[in-house]
Symmetry: C2
Subunit: 214 residues, 2 copies
């Protein structure tokens, strides 16, 4: 299996690193891709990583994994006059055989802006749920902030850490339950948070700026 | 709060990235440090990141976070004739006021090799538990593969993904329960793995090569 992860400056670290770690233990090949090669910044302060493939180097992926990131970075991608990132997503999703088209966290905003979630059930980080109704009304919002939502070949995750559960689900879909269980064992993924809390109510309005407002 | 994460080539990605993400949402400053500056390889294939501080640039840390990694990398650190990494850990742990001294996954092998877990309760990745009895017999092994073990100012985690629970625990210790709950909300850390499995029995012997056998 080969997974493509298109990244950008100010992408969320765990949205990328958590699934990358799990796919790696599953024996998958993983390509980090960006519009341009070179060092990229995670949104976590002071952490840079290196991308060696551009979108032109893309292979035939079994899944495309779209991570979330800073609001300004998402807005820049959505408002890009060339639509480079969104067109890459559309082209990948249009390939035959169809890849799994996945997002985690606010990565769903990018899939939605590319039109790839229209008429699909989907989720995102709890704070971005209002964006679906305001900005992408043809997306069918899954209730209750699930860890991930599978609808045909679309797999969308909730906020940040949801990517771990979602990555295990993708491994299960692509390689079977035993493969996912082995990754669970290798990564000792038997989570047990030391604190409890409730998912907050979402903000009243979409946190993304209006299209073209930057 | 300031956290120091001493890294090395072939360090585990999620051991670093998971806690880094959580500390960042807590508003902590985080320094990645290494013996030498420059690009480092995660053990996950094809992922490099950049380190801008050497051990000489270390600040006064509220916690030192020691990640695990490839067996050969651990053995190289333990067998290093200059003991550069282990001496750094010892020097940090000796500072006043005392920092929290933490490891995740096989990072416990490095703390143990530095003598910093002797007579402390501790844990590590399930596959490295036999190393305590064989190589570091003064470490008191916590039964049952807990997500993390707190003993005075030592906080040791289980395998890889345990670092997320352990990082939340460290945030709770340093900044309080409300701060940890806010990070749980920001990262939507309400995990729910889609598969279930049991932690395997550990291997019969320590996976580290005998000291000096490389």
């Amino acid at each position: 299996m080969i997974i493509g992860i298109p990244v950008y400056d100010e992408v969320d670290m765990l949205d990328v690193a958590g699934p990358f770690e799990m796919f790696d233990w599953a024996g998958f090949e993983i390509d980090l891709l960006a519009e341009q090669k070179g060092p990229k910044r995670f949104r976590s302060k002071g952490f840079t990583f290196n991308v060696e493939k551009t979108f032109a180097d893309a292979r035939a992926y079994d899944a495309i994994w779209v991570p979330g990131g800073e609001i300004a970075a998402l807005a820049a991608i959505i408002d890009d006059p060339n639509q480079t990132y969104l067109k890459f997503l559309v082209a990948q999703a249009a390939r035959t055989p169809k890849p799994m088209v996945c997002s985690v966290c606010e990565g769903a905003m990018l899939l939605a802006a590319a039109g790839l979630l229209d008429h699909y059930h989907a989720t995102t980080h709890w704070a971005f749920i209002p964006c679906f109704a305001e900005r992408f009304p043809d997306v069918i919002v899954a209730e209750g902030n699930p860890r991930f939502v599978l609808d045909r070949n679309r797999l969308t995750g909730g906020g940040i850490s949801s990517g771990l559960d979602e990555a295990l689900m993708l491994i299960q879909l692509l390689q079977g339950t035993v493969a996912a269980q082995k990754v669970q064992q290798s990564t000792q993924y038997y989570p047990d948070p030391p604190v409890t809390s409730a998912i907050p109510a979402p903000p009243p309005h979409c946190l993304l700026p209006p299209r073209g407002a930057r």
